[in-house]
Symmetry: C2
Subunit: 142 residues, 2 copies
DNA sequence: AATTTAATTGAAAAATATTTTCATTTAGGA
DNA sequence: TCCTAAATGAAAATATTTTTCAATTAAATT
């Protein structure tokens, strides 16, 4: 089994959640590809591994994974119904518009910008949210 | 009538859309407050001005306004079902978590960051979204 | 290995959000 | 005023998400 699935399972377990066949199937699907997934897509794909899986459980599992910070909601141009795996805590996504691949990127130091905006507007800024869209190396070749 | 409503109307007209009572009512509501609006909220409020208005028309009007770049979808923590007025073309929003006020901010020069991310990932970056959340000056006083 | 129990489950129903369809109405040019 | 394509609302359809509840099950305990 993928290392990431084992790591996620361990996180679930230590947060007091049981490792069920259904949850494992969901985790395995998410680990398949570093991309954004809609609940229905996860459901359809995970049912190949665990035919008894229900859509409700997919929603519930994604909720838990979000709460633990293992996946994050991704807001696409078409809507905000997708989720993507996250490796560290607070994370920003770079999304390929063609294949849907999701990459996290480092070095998001927005402090100077936030500082400037805060000064000019008088807002106290508590949270920021940045997403980039483009074309990944593989899709550029086509 | 608010200047902004007239400006929006002119934009609609010159894009070939008719100025109907319904559309005017929607525009007037959006001009009331620089905040984020959900379609249902717009509907309820605009019906006070135009009781014949249907929810379908609100959705359709918001679509058109988006297409013309006069409003923009706002992605909140709770979901992406809200819209906010936009003054210039590409715009970023600063959103008050308490009162919902939406402010556009200037000076979003992300070029160095985008350049850096592009180099380290190999992605061609075509679009970026940045949203800030915090507390506006008025809400800080409470 | 068997027992126990609280967590987890799926199905169905409900709630919520959005889009489509279509007959009727209407804005605005002729 | 007349005309016509655009726009409309109501209702139905579709899509998404949550709630409810009786049955099942993971995993701790014996």
């Amino acid at each position: 089994m993928e290392a990431i699935v084992m790591a996620w399972s361990e996180q679930l377990r230590s947060a007091g959640y049981k490792i069920t066949r259904q949850r494992r199937a969901v985790l395995q699907v998410l680990a398949e590809r570093n991309a954004h997934w809609r609940p229905l897509e996860v459901y359809q794909r995970a049912r190949q591994r665990c035919p008894a899986l229900g859509l409700t459980t997919v929603y519930r599992t994604l909720d838990i994974l979000c709460e633990l910070g293992l996946v994050q909601r991704v807001h696409l141009e078409q809507g905000c119904h997708s989720f993507a795996p996250v490796s560290q805590g607070h994370s920003h996504h770079l999304i390929c518009r063609k294949c849907g691949e999701v990459t996290e990127f480092e070095g998001c130091d927005l402090s100077p910008l936030l500082e400037r905006v805060s000064r000019s507007t008088g807002f106290v800024i508590e949270e920021h949210w940045l997403e980039l869209f483009g074309t990944c190396p593989a899709c550029q070749e086509e």
